[in-house]
């Protein structure tokens, strides 16, 4: 049987990839995608802990469902904001939005 560490390690790798992605991208939509990867990593943690440590508690699964729901809502609003950006500036490069600084 697969040890818990494998799942957790996979989650950490996924989170780290998301971390790397959100830091290197300039496209707003890609940043959103990278953030979704991070959320998935959290979900893997919730389910792996439930399966291995707390098999009788549905709490982890509930959390996973909420994370997905909230992620969908967040992505919807986020994309709308990005859409306005693309309409105003003809780009989804977040570096174009740097009028306010210092």
């Amino acid at each position: 049987m697969i040890p818990l560490g494998y799942f957790l390690g996979f989650g950490v790798l996924l989170f780290a990839l998301g971390l790397y992605g959100v830091l290197t991208q300039r496209s707003a939509i890609r940043m959103v995608m990278a953030i979704e990867l991070m959320l998935n990593a959290a979900n893997i943690n919730f389910l792996a802990f439930t399966r291995y440590l707390y098999p009788d508690d549905p709490r982890g699964a509930i959390w996973a469902i909420f994370v997905m729901t909230v992620a969908a809502a967040e992505v919807a609003v986020g994309l709308a904001v990005i859409l306005v950006l693309s309409r105003r500036r003809q780009t989804i490069d977040v570096d174009a939005a740097e009028e306010m600084k210092h």
Binding site: L19, V22, L23, M31, V94, D95, K101, H102
Partner: protein, 648 residues
Amino acid sequence: MAELAWVAAALPFFSFLIQVFITGPTRRRGDWVGIIATAASFILSIGVLLETTAGVRTGSSFLWATMGDRTFRFGYHVDALTGVMLVVVALVSLMVHLFSLGYMEGDVRYGRYYTILSLFTFSMLGLLLADNFLQLFVFWELVGLCSFLLIGHWYEEKANSNAAMKAFLTTRVGDIGMAIGIFLLYSATGTLQFEEVWHSVSAGLLTPATITAVSLLLFAGAVGKSAQFPLHVWLPDAMAGPTPVSALIHAATMVAAGVYLVARSFPLFSASPTAMYWVAAIGGFTAFFAATIALVQEDIKKVLAYSTISQLGYMFLGLGSGSLVAGTFHLMTQAFFKSLLFLASGSVIHALHTQNLHEMGGLYRRMRWTAWTWIIGSLAMAGVPPLSGFWSKDEVLLAAYHSGRPLLFWLGLITALLTAFYITRATWLAFFGRPRDEEKFRHAHEGDWRFKLPLGVLAIMAAFSGFVGSSWFGHPFTHWMETTLPSGFHLVELEPAGIVQLLALAAAVLGILLGWLVYGAGVVSRSALIRAAGPVYTLLKRKYYLDELYGWLFVRTTVALSWVVSVFDRYIVDGIVNLIAWFSTQLSFATGDFDRSVIDGAVNGVGAAFSAGSQVLRRAQTGYVGAYLLVLLGAMAAGLLVLAFIVD
């Protein structure tokens, strides 16, 4: 009556409210409200004074806030010290209210002016009535705010609003110290009520180090408020405000709040010799230092401003030398004669529309009333008996004499001489001699009763208020102060010393005489005086030519003797006046320079450092989301690394 002392503070507050909400700040109807309220406060204050000097001490307070198991209270406390201060503040405020009727007539912000005067009077009386440090601090900030608003009264001129800012910010520097001192005191004693703090001090609950630290920090606040070296820079600039305001706030009351703080906290301060030493040292040095600067000021208000700094230094010298009586007594007399001088200068400025002493002259012929009251004020300040300043200055010098710090005593004595000298100079330049500006002189005229009445009243006070502390009447002031001290503390009875009185009198007379010689009799012309500065400088540089003198003496005695006579002629007889005058001039130029470059520089420097830091740090905000994310997530990753490998 003493139980109603708080009403004295409440009345100006109601006047403030009425002026804000009913008469409106822009129309000129509020002035009489303010005057009536202040007059009522004054009458009440006299009642309070009469009772408290008979030994009544009372007070009451209500619960303001409970934090944890501690309570903080707001209330009032009345004793003889409060009584004296109440009368001084209410009287000067009333006189300034009256004087402003004429002085501020037709001003664009007339209503606002009276409104803030009421607020100030309320705040100042509240400060005096406070029975704990917190309340004192609250009113301390409020008077600072009023001062700020009044200095910047004519803000159309940039210099005025800058002066207001400088005053506000510079005093805040002292206030940090004061706030920290209050924290320390609270953490050491668990209370801020005066009575309880004094009790902890006398019961020995505080370590000497704590007492010293708290005292010095509180004194930092006093240094800021009372414009002592090195935080004195704001007061001369504060002269940008209307002259009656200078008389009220920057001569008689608010600047004296620092002295009041130390006097009020006397049981605390006197428990720490180190703190007392610093109070005396800073006071003595400031007294001398400011007096030298006052010697060469051309602006009549600046002369008075530096003089105020100097006199406040005197009060601290008195307090620091261990005499509560000396400090507070001088506070009282100075309030009267200095506000008198300011109002008289206001009268002159109102008549001439200039503040420059060199554009005045001969005003005695045009403005007798103003001139006479000014002369009374200046004689009082110079310390001529039996005017008020004589008695209080004598008390301060006596305290310094007995304190075992001869340097400070001599500094005080020289200051007395310088004081007499510069006030004589100002008197002569303004009121005597030929008018230097005929055009202005022709238009000069005495004001109406609104000018004369306050001057007259204050002149009477400046002349006679000293008797309450004079030996002729058995030192009643000393007995009043005795009653203000909590049980366990006693005033040190100072043995009268004839030599001190004699020296003080001599200094005053000599100063006036020298001033008269230079500016009145014209024995030495002023241009010659300045020219003479060159050779005298060489003289000093060559150690008075002593080396050469000896050579001549031994080699060619006869010639040498004649030379010595000539030197004596030239430098001693002719120049003794020049020497003193020159010395002071040089010193005041030097200190003035020090003032401008070093102190201002330090104050500005700290500000500049912060704004430079601000400029650098704001660069971190690049505007790129990527960079923001990097900081956010980078901090997170760094934190995780620390947790994983370092914390254990």
